[in-house]
């Protein structure tokens, strides 16, 4: 271990090249943020004239279509670490395997989804390799051969630029919904390579006793989002009715998720998803900076709140100061009539 022993020896920056993206999969299901990162990674690799490398870990992932899909989504090469130790996910074997590959193959940059999985193990790669690790990058560009990562701080009030001049790789986590996922292109070509697995069950420090995972909603691509806050006091049915009527997705604030009224995958904000719909309807949401950060790029924002001073109105195009319980049933009624009428005329 002794990560501190060579603390002041900077990396040989020149020796590092290629853009790496971690492919997050659980039991064969790939987390959507992976494809978003491959899209961004492709852009960066083209600019630097380097390879885009996707890293897949899991058990029997070689036989799935994940490696092929990574190629269709832009990867030049796919590294596969296949072993029972990687399923289900655990931080210690993932971190150790990734660390080994980074030390041997020396990527210039590594992008990891800012999910509970990615944010869990990224440090176990960055610490022993003494890599720079930026959290929650929202903008990433190359200036003078150097990556500039921008990330929100102070809940979203400030945007900090993080650089990593003397250490490699430059690692970053990115929350879901920040970058766009390109459509897969089956005509893309790439190579799949099995890598040496350096972890074994004897060295692991943890054991997964139970794992309960259902379908995971993906709200990041929704064109219409109907989001609810604590003002609903758990009365979330009208949200679903409105979302169904408009063909949109339901979302929520972190507090509502903590109450268990809406599932965590639908949380919008700093520690949740970033959404960029055409229409965002915020119902009973105060508009805390940590929430606004995840919906600020919506084209049109509508707010329904009974407090005229709620900050959400400063972040909305159209607002109404009223009790949601009065507004939503009437709104649904009116919209249903209008949409029916449109269908008849269309």
């Amino acid at each position: 271990m002794a990560a501190g022993a060579d603390a002041d020896t900077a990396a040989d920056v020149e020796a590092h090249s290629d853009v790496w993206v971690f492919v997050e999969q659980h039991a064969g299901d790939v987390a959507g943020v992976t494809w978003e990162l491959l899209g961004k990674g492709r852009e960066l690799a083209d600019q630097k004239d380097e390879d885009l490398v996707a890293l897949v870990m899991g058990e029997a992932v070689r036989e799935t279509d994940i490696p092929e899909e990574a190629i269709a989504r832009g990867a030049d090469r796919v590294l596969v670490a296949d072993d029972p130790a990687f399923e289900p996910y655990r931080a210690d074997p993932y971190g150790e395997q990734f660390r080994h590959l980074v030390e041997v193959r020396k990527p210039d940059i590594a992008l990891i989804g800012g999910t509970h999985t990615g944010r869990d193990f990224a440090g176990r790669v960055a610490v022993p390799t003494h890599a720079g690790l930026t959290a929650d990058t929202t903008e990433l560009e190359i200036t003078d051969e150097q990556y500039e990562m921008r990330r929100p701080a102070f809940g979203g009030d400030a945007l900090a630029t993080i650089i990593c001049p003397n250490h490699r790789p430059q690692m970053s986590t990115v929350r879901p919904g920040v970058f766009d996922a390109p459509e897969p292109d089956e005509s893309q070509e790439g190579a799949v390579e099995d890598v040496e697995v350096v972890v074994g069950e004897d060295e692991t420090l943890t054991e997964v006793l139970e794992r309960e995972v259902g379908d995971v909603a993906d709200i990041t691509d929704a064109e219409i989002v109907v989001a609810g806050g604590m003002g609903l006091e758990g009365d979330v049915d009208p949200l679903w009715d409105l979302a169904d009527l408009l063909g949109g997705e339901v979302a929520a604030t972190r507090e509502v998720v903590e109450e268990g009224w809406i599932e965590p995958a639908r949380q919008v904000g700093q520690t949740g998803k970033t959404v960029r719909p055409k229409l965002y309807i915020a119902v009973g949401i105060s508009g805390a900076i940590q929430h606004v950060e995840g919906m600020d790029d919506s084209e049109t924002v509508i707010a329904i709140n009974n407090d005229a001073n709620a900050p959400i109105f400063e972040n909305a195009d159209y607002g109404i100061v009223a009790d949601y319980a009065d507004v939503l049933p009437e709104l649904i009624e009116i919209l249903r009539e209008r949409l029916d009428a449109q269908e008849v005329t269309a």
């Binding site: 931080a91 440090g123 690790l133 959290a135 700093q270 159209y318």
Partner: protein, 259 residues
């Protein structure tokens, strides 16, 4: 382990999130104007540490790395019920990113012979969430992040946690020593009793350690930090119409417009 666990809880002093402002001319953050408080997710970490101590026995030691004035957050933790506290303070720590910050806390945890180290999900100022996994990585210890609940198993030298994962949850058993990052909001932090609070703020003195005391004087600070903050800008508010409508009909008009 009959005499319980050595529990360490890491707490950070941050500017009160509601009071941070940015000088529009210089772009410099006015952290000095904001009151310094304990990072709100760290209340959940302290509460979890106390709950585990109540079940298993042992002691809870609060640790913070920061300027001398950061002892205020140690007082908060002691007021809530922590037994001891350590203030890591040294000019050498200045400019540390998460790599040396987690190294210093990792060495302090070793020095305290920790069985379990608690931290918060992330801070309200720089919010990386990277410090708890960093502590575990520096010491090659197990880690449990986004934790919703805990089942201590002292007889097995293990800690079992319920973790929040995308689409559900998992229960993971970790060998001691282990670093735990509590999910923000997952428990009800206790309020300090009056007597305890007065004790924490008057008689109580934390132990103070310098970088040399934990043997990291050459491994902390800006020079060993791989990342640097190259600049900071105020996040520009997105321009919005901010138009208030009178009735639901009008609201429906605007929705239909977008559709």
């Amino acid at each position: 382990m009959t005499d319980g666990w050595n529990i360490v809880v890491c707490v950070k002093q941050v500017p009160d999130a509601d009071e941070v402002s940015i000088d529009p001319e210089t772009g410099i953050l006015n952290r000095a104007d904001a009151e310094a408080v304990m990072n709100s997710p760290d209340y959940n970490a302290v509460e979890a540490a106390l709950e585990v101590r109540d079940v298993v026995g042992g002691t809870v030691t609060a640790v913070t790395m920061g300027p001398a004035s950061a002892d205020e957050v140690l007082q908060v933790a002691v007021g809530m019920g922590a037994d001891n506290a350590v203030l890591l303070t040294d000019r050498a720590f200045g400019g540390s990113d998460t790599w040396p910050t987690s190294l210093a806390l990792a060495r302090a945890a070793e020095e305290l012979d920790a069985d379990v180290v608690f931290g918060g999900e992330e801070t309200t100022d720089s919010s990386t969430g990277q410090v708890p996994p960093g502590i575990a990585a520096h010491n090659d210890w197990a880690q449990l992040t986004y934790v919703e609940g805990l089942e201590p198993r002292p007889e097995e030298d293990r800690l079992v946690a319920k973790r929040d994962v995308e689409g559900g949850y998992e229960r993971v058993a970790a060998d001691l020593p282990v670093v735990v990052a509590m999910e923000f909001g997952e428990n009800e932090p206790r309020t300090a009793g009056l007597h305890r609070k007065i004790y924490a703020e008057t008689d109580f003195e934390p132990v103070e350690w310098s970088a040399a005391d934990i043997g990291v004087e050459d491994e902390v600070g800006l020079a060993v930090s791989p990342t640097q903050v190259g600049g900071m800008a105020t996040a520009e508010p997105v321009p919005r119409e901010q138009e208030m409508v009178e009735g639901v009909e009008e609201l429906a008009d605007h929705i239909v417009e977008v559709l």
